[in-house]
Structures are given as C-alpha cells and as structure tokens.
Symmetry: C2
Subunit: 105 residues, 2 copies
DNA sequence: CGTATAGTTGGATGCATGTCAAACAGTTAG
DNA sequence: CTAACTGTTTGACATGCATCCAACTATACG
C-alpha cells in the first residue's frame, strides 16, 4: 500500500477547494465518493463521459486541492473524500456543496 | 437607474458560483460586500491590488455567475451580494464560504 | 462647452485547464 | 513469461482566464 502526496489539513486552501469543486466532472466524482465512500478510480470514473486520462487528471486536481485521499493497492487505486479534514478546516462547506449538487436543475 | 442582465435565481449554476468564488480577488470583494452591504465598484475595488479594468472583469464574472447584483446610478455603479437568492438556491453555501474566507491562513 | 469622474471595452500576453489519443509503467493472472 | 488490467504521463490542441495598458463611453460639474 502506497500513499501519494497530499496537502496537510492546515495547508488546504479555500480557493483551491472551490476551484476543484467548480468542474462538473469533478463535482460528480465527489458526489459519488460522498454517497458510496471509498472507490477505485475506474469505479468512480464509470460513465463520466470523459477519457480515462481526463479522469486521471481530475483526480490529481482533487487530490492536490486536498479534497480526496488516494492510496495505491496493487494495481488499483482507491480514492476517498477527505470529509473530516474539510469539515475541520471549512465547517459546513462540503455539506452545502453536496446538498446543492443534488438540487434539481 | 439602469439594471444590467443577471441570471434568474433558478438559473444560477452551482459550478459557476464555485468558480466565481475560487479567485482570491473575487473572494475578497464578496467578503467586503457581505460585511458592508451595497458599495460602488470603486469602493469595492479599493486596495485590491489590481488594475481597475481587472476589477471590472471580476465584477462581470460575479454578476454573470449570479453572485452579485449591479445597478447603475448616474456615473456610479452599485454592486451588492445576492444573498437571499444564493441562500434560496444553495442553502448554507455562501455562509460557509464566507466563514471559511475569514479563517486564518 | 470643457473637464473631471466612474467604469467598460479591446488588444496583447502569459499561464492554466479540459480534452483526447497514444504510449508507457506497475501489478496480477494464466 | 506473456497477457490482461489499472491507471499515469506526454503531446497536442483549443479554450478560458487574470492581468495590464490604452482608448473609449457616459455622466456630472463649473
């Protein structure tokens, strides 16, 4: 099991998080992670409508912004929401975004 | 008094709002509007550290995303937060962002 | 009318981003 | 070992964006 570089909780920047969440594809991924917990990249990226390399790019954005955790296990990579870290740093932010993301168009 | 085009409340898109809030300059402007209410563009743009045309660009981003209201009066333009509209559409979002924006680095 | 004020617009520039395709790398299975 | 699987990296491309400067518009003031 290998860990990838992630920003420390106190280094998570609000503007970076907001930018990470401001893409429809990434918002969809975050919604899935919130609903289902830890998933592999392929599961999270299923039916996203983008190429797998594009999805990989989005995972990196989310990780570098401090929104998700990644850990490699064998040939699979598991990603999960850093919910506690985000709640500690920006209380209520993630919940309001997730609620808003479920709203009807 | 002239009104400029703004998106209707139900047309405000979450990703657009998040993108609008993901810039440090715009976040600063929104914080000022939240603290002081309606202000002119020059007041809101005071000491932002950017050229007035850059500030004007940011106001347009915020307006088109549905974050602020603009109304022209004479040669001054007043901008204000669309707090009620944002609260109605995305409950808790604006408050959590404003709270987060006040956090120490 | 002429001048000052408040903002916008257009051009230019450099940087970031979203996307795909193809090649690559690491891991597991037969 | 060979082949399949999982995901990343690189290149290419188009787009968008933050920024400044200069010119412009519109309004107000003398």
């Amino acid at each position: 099991m290998r860990l990838l570089p992630h920003p420390a909780t106190e280094d998570i920047q609000l503007t970076e998080v907001l930018k990470a969440l401001s893409d429809p594809v990434r918002l969809l991924v975050v919604g899935r992670l919130a609903a289902h917990g830890e998933m592999t990249c392929s599961t999270a990226g299923d039916d996203l409508g983008v190429h797998k390399s594009t999805a990989s790019h989005h995972y990196r954005m989310l990780r570098e912004a401090g929104v998700i955790m990644s850990k490699q296990e064998g040939r699979k990579k598991y990603i999960s929401l850093r919910r506690d870290d985000l709640d500690a740093r920006f209380p209520g932010l993630l919940d309001s975004v997730l609620t808003a993301a479920h709203e009807p168009v």
